[in-house]
Amino acid sequence: MILVLVEHDDGVLTQLSAESVALASGLGSPLHAVALGPGSDGLRALPAAVQAVHAGLGSLDAYAPRAWAHALADVVAAESPTAVVAPGSERGNEVMAYLAALTDLPLAANCLAATPPEAGGAAWSLVRSRWAGSLLEDAELATGGPALLTVALGAAPGAAPAGSGSPQVVVVGTVPDDADLRVVVADHVQPAGDGVSLADAKVIVSGGRGVGGEDGFAVVEQLAGLLGAAVGCSRVVTSEGWRPHRDQVGQTGTRVSPELYIACGISGAIQHMVGCKGARRILAINTDPDAPIMSKADYSVVGDLHAVLPAIVAEIHRTRAERAAAV
């Protein structure tokens, strides 16, 4: 039996949860999902592979990672799965880390593939994402209990979050204890609300070392303003203090998935590419045609961004003016 922890937004699985289900479904059967927190008993239209949903902590309004792990551990204790799979999201990884700590079992985070032990064997064969996806690790997991795995984005890219399944709901009766509730979301702070956030933006215009300085971002902002885009940047830019860290796209900044990511004067260090590879299209503008980003982009322009961006801005103005005149 396989357990998979799922996360959802208003009853719809997150993409990573869907990929987790897909990966988990290949590890054995039956496949049961675990959903925790308010609304977790209302999950419907799940992928067909899920035969039951264990729903718990419905009355725990505030997220408490250890309480989630506690509930998950209770399901594990009751069901004795051979594997527990969770999305490699911030919460998924966190809950699984607690579960691993509580059960003193090994945990393999960010798996892209998993194969149960062969008959007579003891170790799972795994493929993990390392260096934020720049490398793959072949790993073995030998565990005295269930295999604890979290799943990296891309493990099952085609997995659909919804399906025709309408599994049976099993209520998990876990009651959090004091230790579980030492770490709990006490409050939410909303953003100041100016501009488009990187996470939601449809278009991002991002600048790197090639921008040259704080003032150099004027032209980046100008293009972003025209396109209703968010402004992003590479790590060197925040290290230099040209932009605040919340604008940083990358392994240690924000990972983004816009329709179009325009990278200006960004060389494309792996730490940056990790953050923007979720973009549907990447346009790179760089003086160096051999910069790593140029081969990883969909479109490239070789040139100085300080010459190219104003030309694009002018061209947009011209196109729009023409259009307005035509109307």
Partner: protein, 254 residues
């Protein structure tokens, strides 16, 4: 206030990682630590400057990890502990066991640490669990993914991103906090700092030992993620094609 920071020596990779067999070819690479950990160090130095006390940095790794520990000392951390491995990679479970043991030993002689700071995840292995495992081993609360931190009396107020906003956590000290870059803007070491770092105490400890269950077999480079780049031209002349592409993608309309 007593703060302990855990850091990990990792290669400073460039635009492309080159493998040498099943491992990263580090012949031409320098070594560094995660940006998350640089922020953890900066936070520790700031907290001790503001509240008084002591900061300690710990690393589990090969003897060469002294370089990263000295770097931490040059930023103002008072002393360092290196738990020496033979260079082989320990899994996250074994790592947490070793670090919990160090913390225990350090606390036995020097008293409880109010804060144990970790980077949210290591850049190389990305295990997302060491801080939590250490916290559980010590029976302390742990907040991870933290990008803002303040100490109010005996409470740590920690915030992390959630959607467009932030979640706020309040935990009693002593606590464990796994931080992310953006927490602060780390300083560069000053020359006097570097000089002082040379004579600051650095203790070496042997590993306790024990297995993990998760074992690396090898590394490989994933199949190319090249997208079949299409050149739109050179210099300002490319603007026309760029705008055509914006139109095709449906992002041009005002």
């Amino acid at each position: 206030m007593r703060v302990l920071v855990c850091i990990k020596r990792v290669p400073a990779v460039g635009g492309r990682i080159v493998l040498d067999g099943a491992d990263i070819d580090t012949r031409f690479l320098g070594f560094t630590m995660s940006p998350h950990e640089e922020c953890a160090l900066e936070e520790a130095v700031r907290l001790v400057t503001a509240h008084g006390g002591e900061s300690v940095v710990v690393s589990l790794g090969p003897p060469e990890s002294e370089e990263q520990l000295r770097y931490a000392l040059s930023l103002g951390v008072e002393r360092a502990v290196l738990v020496e491995t033979d260079g082989g990679e320990l899994g996250p479970r074994a790592t947490a066991r070793e670090l919990a043991a160090v913390v225990g030993a350090e606390e036995e002689s020097g008293g409880t640490f109010d804060l144990l700071l970790f980077g949210n995840e290591a850049p190389d292995s990305g295990d997302f669990q060491v801080g939590i495992r250490v916290a559980e081993a010590l029976g302390r609360p742990c907040v991870s993914g933290v990008k803002q931190l303040s100490i109010e009396g005996g409470t740590a107020v920690a915030m992390r991103d959630r959607g467009r906003g932030m979640e706020v956590y309040r935990v009693r000290l002593p606590a464990v906090v796994a931080v992310k870059e953006g927490l602060n803007l780390p300083r560069y070491p000053s020359l006097p700092g570097r000089l002082k770092a040379k004579s600051k105490p650095l203790a070496r400890r042997a590993v306790v030992g024990g297995g993990d269950g998760l074992r690396k077999v090898g590394l490989r480079v994933p199949d190319g993620d090249a997208r079949g780049t299409q050149s739109l031209g050179t210099g300002p002349d490319a603007a026309t094609r760029v705008v055509e592409v914006l139109e095709e993608l449906g992002v041009l309309a005002p």
